[in-house]
């Protein structure tokens, strides 16, 4: 068995709720290897996004350990964590989060600039925009794009850093079914081509079924489907 890209060991996370605590994640173990496709399903508010944020190192667990490429990163200073995250992980969100003040090409390039991967950045960004079918919109502003187009740009932005894992938090959540399907096809295709591990948080059981590993999060416990 190869060493995992991302490994969660007994992760727990709880939040203050009134006088007590709400345990959102309890002793979660998860192993993601190169090229894996993983889905995480669950009811709204069950902690799927919390788990994804913990895996991305954006949040710190109350207990347990997170390992990136076999080295523990739990409790790392924010600066070091951010630099390692930029190299390892790309993220796609339900709400796209494009920067409205800059054009599409610059939005895609921004991912590489932040990660410090500036070699052939413009060329790679253009290739990715072509791959997501938006080559002719590279000079447009985000406000002029539809929801589906914006999500394509967000995917290109996440891929431009050549991450080893892509964490997608309900990437089709704001889109109609047809657009969602095309986004999912494209996402899977790109990850397959580049050998990127895909972790998909979704409500959609059809999309979840396409993944090689499917998990369900219920009452803080992660169970295989």
């Amino acid at each position: 068995m190869s060493s995992p890209l991302i490994e969660a060991q007994g992760l727990a996370r709880r939040f203050q709720s009134g006088d007590g605590f709400l345990e959102v994640l309890k002793n979660v173990d998860l192993r993601i290897e190169t090229g894996d496709t993983v889905s995480i399903q669950g009811e709204s508010g069950c902690g799927k996004s919390t788990l994804l944020n913990l895996l991305a190192g954006l949040d710190q667990p109350d207990a347990g350990k997170l390992l990136w490429e076999s080295s523990a990163v739990t409790g790392f200073p924010n600066d070091q964590l951010a630099i390692r995250r930029a190299r390892l992980i790309g993220m796609v969100f339900q709400s796209y989060y494009l920067v409205p003040e800059i054009r599409i090409l610059e939005n895609v390039m921004l991912g590489g600039r932040i990660a410090g991967k500036t070699d052939n950045l413009e060329e790679r960004s253009n290739v990715l925009l072509e791959r997501v079918g938006l080559a002719d919109r590279r000079k447009s502003l985000p406000a002029t794009l539809s929801g589906g187009e914006r999500q394509r740009v967000a995917i290109a932005r996440a891929m431009v850093t050549m991450p080893k894992a892509l964490l997608a938090d309900e990437p089709t959540g704001n889109l109609d079914e047809a657009t969602g399907d095309s986004i999912m096809d494209m996402l899977q295709e790109l990850c397959d081509e580049e050998g990127i591990a895909l972790v998909l948080v979704t409500h959609n059981s059809v999309y979840a079924a396409r993944m090689s590993h499917s998990w369900n999060l219920r009452q803080g416990i992660l169970e295989p489907v």
């Binding site: 944020n53 991305a56 951010a82 930029a86 003040e101 610059e106 932040i114 502003l141 932005r157």
Partner: protein, 412 residues
């Protein structure tokens, strides 16, 4: 360019969009503060410079005196004139006379100048508004414009001069002598633009002053103009040392330093008072940036998710303060120069509207608003404005850097 600087620039000046109102308001504050400071400080510099140059034109940059009479004034003038830093030097004598015209007496200051010096004559020739400098001889005077208008004098008119020496002789003779004034002609009327001189001064040849004051071949001192008037203090010290007792130097600052000191003091006070505008502008920048940080919370979360470090996030917002400071300062300098360029039209319009058109001349002795931009002032104003604007970005930057990425992404 680092991404955080690029984003800072694009937040302030977005691509393909209208200029954001928050950028405009923040910039306007800095532009107004910087331009006002530049205009006011430059006008104070202008007053100082004009007064200095008028003092230099009339008093000279430096005078060598003994406290009594100078017995060999031309020899000493030649010696001083041979120095590299000296442009011209010539003897002078000064005092007070009573001038009578059509039974109307006035007591102006009189200065006898070295008419052998072409430069000295040329200077007064430049100031002449009536008459001819070639008409100035040992029986004539140049009259300042204010003085001439008080007595309604014109070139060619004859006036009578009485000196303190004549009064003394009359007193000593117990009234047996008859007081005979010296009758002289008005050769010309001059105007330096400095009211202190233009109101109450007459110019004669040194020979006439020597006659009036019974000085013989002596003079009261040597008047010196330097290649660089601001070197007066240093050259005065050098000459005092090299010429030895009883000679000593007296600079234009020694004679008229009070006026310039007041201007310097006023300039400093105005600088501190007007700098408050820049400080107020910085609060406007801070409040705009704080609002902006809140508006951009999710974007900050996104940058963190993409691998931005807290320090880079802070730099992004701090840079916005810096960019506003730099852009506002540059625009402020430009606007300040524009105001200075049209200052006389602006002041004339305001004076006419307030019906106080002549007040500037009456109060300050200038027919126009002088201004002089000094590089040192520009550097101080620019540096302080940029630093203050950058500091204004620190609190919003700190707030951005301390945001929890997860909460930022979740924010509505």
């Amino acid at each position: 360019m680092p991404w955080y600087l690029y984003i800072a620039l694009r937040h302030l000046f977005p691509q393909g969009k209208r200029f954001p109102i928050f950028t405009l308001m923040s910039l306007t504050g800095v532009v107004l503060g910087v331009s006002t400071l530049i205009v006011v400080i430059s006008v104070f510099n202008g007053f100082g410079y004009e007064i200095r140059s008028r003092i230099a034109d009339t008093y000279g940059d430096l005078r060598i005196v003994t406290g009594g009479l100078l017995n060999n004034p031309y020899g000493l003038s030649d010696e001083i004139r041979s120095l590299e830093s000296v442009e011209t030097a010539g003897p002078y004598a000064h005092g007070m006379v009573m001038l009578l015209y059509k039974n109307k007496p006035l007591a102006p200051l009189i200065e006898g100048i070295d008419t052998q010096s072409d430069q000295e004559l040329q200077k007064y020739s430049d100031f002449l508004i009536a008459g001819d400098i070639d008409d100035l001889d040992d029986d004539s005077l140049l009259i300042s414009s204010g003085f001439a208008s008080q007595l309604s004098l014109f070139p060619g008119d004859e006036v009578e001069l009485y000196t303190p020496l004549m009064m003394l002789k009359l007193l000593e003779s117990d009234g047996t002598d008859v007081l005979l004034p010296r009758t002289v002609r008005v050769a010309g009327i001059f105007e330096t633009g400095w009211q202190r001189v233009d109101e109450n001064t007459v110019i004669s040849t040194l020979r006439l002053m020597q006659d009036l004051y019974n000085l013989g071949e002596s003079a009261h001192g040597v008047r010196i103009e330097l290649n660089d008037g601001y070197e007066a203090e240093a050259i005065s010290r050098e000459l005092t040392e090299s010429l030895g007792n009883p000679y000593y130097g007296r600079t234009w600052m020694d004679a008229h330093g009070d006026t310039l000191s007041i201007i310097q003091l006023e300039k400093r006070m105005m600088f501190f008072l007007l700098f408050i505008i820049v400080i107020v502008a910085s609060f406007s920048i801070m409040s705009s940036l704080l609002t902006f940080v809140i508006r951009k919370t999710r974007e900050i979360g996104l940058f963190a998710a993409m691998g931005a470090t807290p320090r880079q996030l802070a730099a992004c917002f701090c840079a916005q303060g810096l960019i506003i400071g730099v852009a506002g300062t540059l625009a402020g300098i430009g606007f300040g120069y524009l105001l200075l360029y049209y200052r006389n039209s602006i002041t004339a319009t305001i004076s006419n509207m307030l019906s106080v058109a002549d007040s500037m001349n009456k109060i300050y002795g200038f027919a126009y608003l002088p201004a002089r931009v000094e590089m040192a002032d520009l550097v101080v104003i620019s540096a302080l404005s940029i630093v203050i604007a950058t500091l204004a970005g620190l609190i919003p930057a700190y707030k951005a850097s301390k945001m929890n990425p997860v909460e930022a992404l979740r924010s509505e």
